[in-house]
């Protein structure tokens, strides 16, 4: 098949209803007899539950079900099963669920919550990672040793939920070389809230002995499996379907309200709707985690990085969740981009008595890239080398070793830097626009990946010449399920994309899927769909070959027809062939599957990693110019330019939309958005007055250049394009601001008060006394690995 047949600016088919307000997201849906659910959440943490009495709630007229931890005994988690559905005995974070009710109206449900009697005893808290790492710190999970470990290999101890390490080469020797400069940088990063417009929402019912969960999620199969786990029921008794999702960004990459609604539905015998209020969303958002980092490099005078060591502390909140997995991604991001002679890295997920964190578009890659690129600028300054020349000299190219010893294929970052340089040379600087403000500019590089994993697809080709694709893919707004997937299938089958129907996710209808996120949708669901289409195509061609008396290899599919190669009008329509096939063989269908294939890392150098090497890396080069108002600390972005590795761009216009949107979200992270915690571990930004995301006046048009041709196992050479645009925004803005104000930028977001404090030298340097001076002292003692 000619790959170019799949390339087009095919518009979204769901835009019409979305624009006219007719799309029914989960929050817009209801069912006959539906009850309204509500959750009682803890006011303060940590605390011991002395008494939880729900009898008054149960006795409230109109209340149909009340549930507590007794109804959901199972624990779930990623890597370690440490999380219950409700707080049982111990409340570990503010807003942790204590009980839930379903009632005829929301007013009754809220009144019932108010009638629940709860008595608690406060416990000593570990709110910050510094507090949690003290030798005498209160344990967030006193029973941590009893938990089921779901993935082997991580270090664990007390409040250290997970520890992953990378040791490659002889870093000790590198750091003791006489000809190196040793550069050390510290960073502290805040939390970021996704602010998906549709809150987490679900409608559940219990019918014929099975649960039907209709929910706003990115991961229907995780919802199915986690619900089964915490309810201790067979996973096959849970069916998950997903209406259009009003924004995810990683927030909905985990099971959320679904088990509560499922339990309430079973207990009440009625459908139950449960929707988070915006305040609940703010208090329980699975934020991009706050983190603290120390990175140290040994660099020769001519710019060779002979050694790098780093300690990264990631706050997972009260439960491990995604951060346990994300310890893996530190190696590939903080120690990505550049050739390193030797490496020592420890990445730790730390339990604190705060709301759990989670996955957010490019996850820790965003702040690791910020830290790495700022550190890179500090190295360049120290050795007196131009920062861009330093990057050009050191970026990973074909045959170079990554952090974990994998061998990279193809040259991407080098040519992309060259392309950015050419773009910049072709247009004037915006410096004049800065006026009397301070001007700064920076170019940065970034490395992210496709979270490949399993996907399945089934395609039915109907006798009217249309096809339907059945997957567990969810349309969260990125457009993949309404653009890339129908484009790929249509190109393979010679149809128009509008003739390809894509079924909404339903775990009863489609095979397993990891979920929509991690830049994997186009790659994994696209590849599974393509494989299914290839099977249909083969069957179709066999029948057409008979009908047209022509060998299959001499037939072409395009524009809804099967033609003898090169002879337009010689063949017949696909519909006619499908009809004939249906008569001869029965309806035509094909199935496809896709999953990751192992990529080799250097044996023995990575421990506790879920992914030791990147199967499909994605690269990005960003550039921006900023103006900083010296009297107020306001940062204005004057220009923003992206060169992004996309493998092959299947829908360039849709990719541009993802880049503009991802950069805007990155600008929010870099400049405005920060979730902070008070001394009791409570989130201070509980609404949109204090949590400030970029508005139309805060963004600029991003100049976009797509870099095609880097190797990819994705369908037709595609890579994920939606996740990576946010990757180096904070890095680029951070480096540009640091140059503008001539200060060390060690924290983001660069809010006006923070920037002004730096300009006035009122901002104390980031100190991390809980990170030991010697790298080895930050690593758990572990038995030698069995060879």
């Amino acid at each position: 098949m000619d790959a170019s047949a799949a390339v087009m600016n095919y518009p979204r088919r769901d835009a019409r209803d979305k624009l006219s307000g007719r799309t029914r997201y989960t929050v817009d849906r209801s069912r006959p007899g539906m009850l309204h659910g509500a959750i009682l959440r803890a006011q303060a943490a940590p605390a011991r539950i002395v008494r939880l009495d729900v009898s008054a709630a149960e006795a409230t007229p109109g209340v149909r079900a009340v549930i507590t931890g007794r109804d959901a005994p199972g624990l779930h988690g990623i890597g370690v099963a440490d999380q219950p559905l409700f707080a049982i005995d111990l409340i570990r974070h503010q807003a942790e669920p204590l009980a839930a009710v379903a009632a005829d109206t929301m007013e009754i449900a809220k009144a019932a919550l108010a009638a629940i009697r709860i008595e608690t005893e406060p416990l000593p808290a570990a709110v910050t990672m510094e507090q949690a790492l003290r030798p005498d710190a209160p344990l967030v999970h006193p029973d941590w040793t009893s938990y089921e470990v779901l993935f082997e290999g991580g270090g664990r101890s007390g409040n250290i939920a997970w520890e992953a390490t990378v040791v490659r080469g002889d870093a000790e020797a590198a750091f003791s070389r006489p000809d190196v400069a040793i550069v050390e940088s510290n960073f502290r990063i805040g939390r970021q809230n996704h602010l998906a417009f549709e809150p987490r929402a679900v409608i559940a019912s219990y019918e014929d002995g099975r649960y039907h969960i209709e929910t706003s999620t990115q991961v229907p199969w995780t919802v199915r499996n986690v619900t089964a786990r915490v309810l201790q029921i067979p996973a096959s008794s849970v069916r998950v379907t997903v209406p259009p999702v009003g924004g995810g960004f990683g927030l909905k990459f985990d099971c959320a309200l679904e088990p509560f609604a499922a339990l309430l539905a079973r207990k009440s015998g009625r459908p139950v709707k449960l929707v988070n209020s915006r305040q609940e969303e703010m208090l329980t958002c699975l934020c991009r985690e706050n983190a603290e980092l120390r990175i140290r490099s040994a660099v020769t005078g001519d710019g060779e990085i002979v050694g790098r060591e780093a300690v990264v502390l990631m706050d997972c909140g009260a439960y491990g969740g995604e951060q346990i997995f994300l310890t893996t991604m530190t190696a590939h991001t903080l120690l990505g981009n550049y050739r390193l002679g030797s490496v020592k890295l420890v990445s730790r997920a730390i339990y604190t008595h705060t709301a759990p964190n989670g996955a957010f578009r490019a996850c820790n890659g965003v702040y690791n890239t910020f830290a790495l690129e700022r550190h890179t600028d500090e190295i360049a300054a120290r050795i007196g080398m131009d920062p861009l020349a330093f990057r050009r000299r050191n970026v990973l190219g074909a045959g170079d070793l990554g952090a974990t010893g994998q061998v990279f294929e193809g040259d991407a970052l080098g040519p992309m830097l060259d392309r950015m340089a050419a773009v910049k040379a072709s247009r004037p600087s915006r410096k004049a626009q800065a006026g009397r403000r301070l001007y700064g500019q920076a170019t940065t590089v970034g490395t992210w990946f496709v979270f490949v994993g399993p996907s399945a697809a089934t395609i039915n080709l109907h006798s009217d010449g249309s096809a339907s694709v059945i997957t567990s893919g969810v349309e969260i707004g990125s457009g993949t399920m309404v653009q890339a997937v129908p484009q790929i299938v249509a190109a393979e089958l010679g149809l128009r994309p509008e003739d390809v129907i894509v079924r909404a996710a339903d775990t009863d209808a489609a095979g397993y899927d990891v979920g929509v996120g991690g830049g994997r949708t186009t790659v994994s669901l696209g590849a599974a769909s393509r494989a299914a289409a290839i099977e249909v195509r083969r069957k179709l061609l066999a029948v057409a070959s008979q009908m047209l008396q022509t060998p299959a290899e001499k037939l072409e599919l395009r524009d809804g027809r099967i033609e003898i190669a090169g002879i337009r009008g010689s063949g017949t329509t696909i519909a006619k062939v499908a009809q004939r096939a249906q008569e001869l063989l029965g309806p035509l269908s094909g199935v496809g599957a896709f999953t990751n294939s192992p990529v080799v890392s250097q044996p023995g150098c990575a421990r506790g990693h879920f992914i030791e090497a990147l199967e499909i890396p994605i690269f990005a080069v960003h550039d921006c110019e900023v103006a900083v108002e010296p009297e107020t600390g306001h940062v204005e972005v004057l220009s923003y330019t992206v060169v992004q590795d996309v493998g092959r761009a299947l829908n360039p216009r849709a990719i541009a939309s993802q880049i503009q949107g991802g950069v805007a979200q990155g600008l929010g992270y870099a400049l405005h958005e920060e979730i902070t915690l008070d001394e009791q571990g409570r989130i201070r930004q509980t609404n949109l007055e204090t949590y400030r995301v970029p508005l139309a006046t805060d963004v600029v048009p991003v100049e976009i250049h797509l870099h095609e041709g880097a190797p990819s196992r994705g369908p037709l050479g595609a890579k994920g394009a939606g996740e990576v645009p946010i990757l180096n925004v904070a890095a680029t803005v951070g480096c540009a601001v640091a140059r503008a104000i001539d200060r060390r930028v060690e924290q983001i977001p660069l809010t006006p008060p923070r920037v002004l404090a730096m300009i006035l030298d009122k901002a104390p340097a980031v100190r991390l006394p809980h990170i030991a001076e010697r790298w080895e002292d930050n690593v758990l003692p572990r038995p030698a690995r069995k060879s």
């Binding site: 006219s20 602010l195 009003g246 924004g247 915006r278 503009q660 609404n687 139309a696 048009p701 991003v702």
Partner: protein, 156 residues
């Protein structure tokens, strides 16, 4: 006490508390779920409706204050299923993503363009200061709005 509301040209009587936000009546009682209650405090604009032609946030509008006023929701912009010219422009430029903000955004822009048929880029941005979009980064929406405005001018 019954309150009479005029929504999209139809009269509806409701017995809800006079302080009930209009958005709840639209969504829960009238199945007009185009208006989204995203922040419930007037910052996001996803629940924007027109009151006597002016955009207002229906999450902070008590039904008592809406009584006797002409309320138009996003559903009225594409009456009979035909998208308005502005909506068509947004569809053709392929600027929609998750879509949750677009009903409010479309309502706000419709009113803005009625009084500013030939706006500058900056004026369009200022008109959207009360409409948050978390997906798109705005600029391509503004491109579409400007192209639409220009087309309408050209077309007379």
């Amino acid at each position: 006490m019954s309150i009479s509301l005029t929504i999209n040209g139809e009269t509806h009587a409701t017995n809800r508390d006079p302080l009930t936000p209009l958005v709840d009546v639209l969504r829960d009682d009238l199945a007009l779920t185009g208006a989204k209650a995203v922040c419930r405090e007037g910052f996001c604009g996803a629940c924007t409706v027109l009151m006597d032609g002016q955009p207002v946030v229906s999450c902070l509008l008590p039904i008592a204050s809406a009584a006797g006023r002409d309320i138009r929701t996003v559903e009225a912009l594409s009456d009979g299923g035909e998208l308005s010219p502005l909506q068509k422009a947004l569809e053709q430029h392929d600027v929609v993503q998750c879509g949750m903000c677009f009903p409010g955004m479309t309502v706000a822009l419709t009113s803005f363009l009625a009084s500013n048929p030939n706006p500058t880029r900056e004026q369009v941005k200022q008109s959207l200061v009360g409409n948050i979009c978390r997906c798109t980064g705005y600029e391509r929406i503004i491109d579409a709005v400007l192209a639409h405005a220009q087309a309408m001018q050209g077309g007379g």
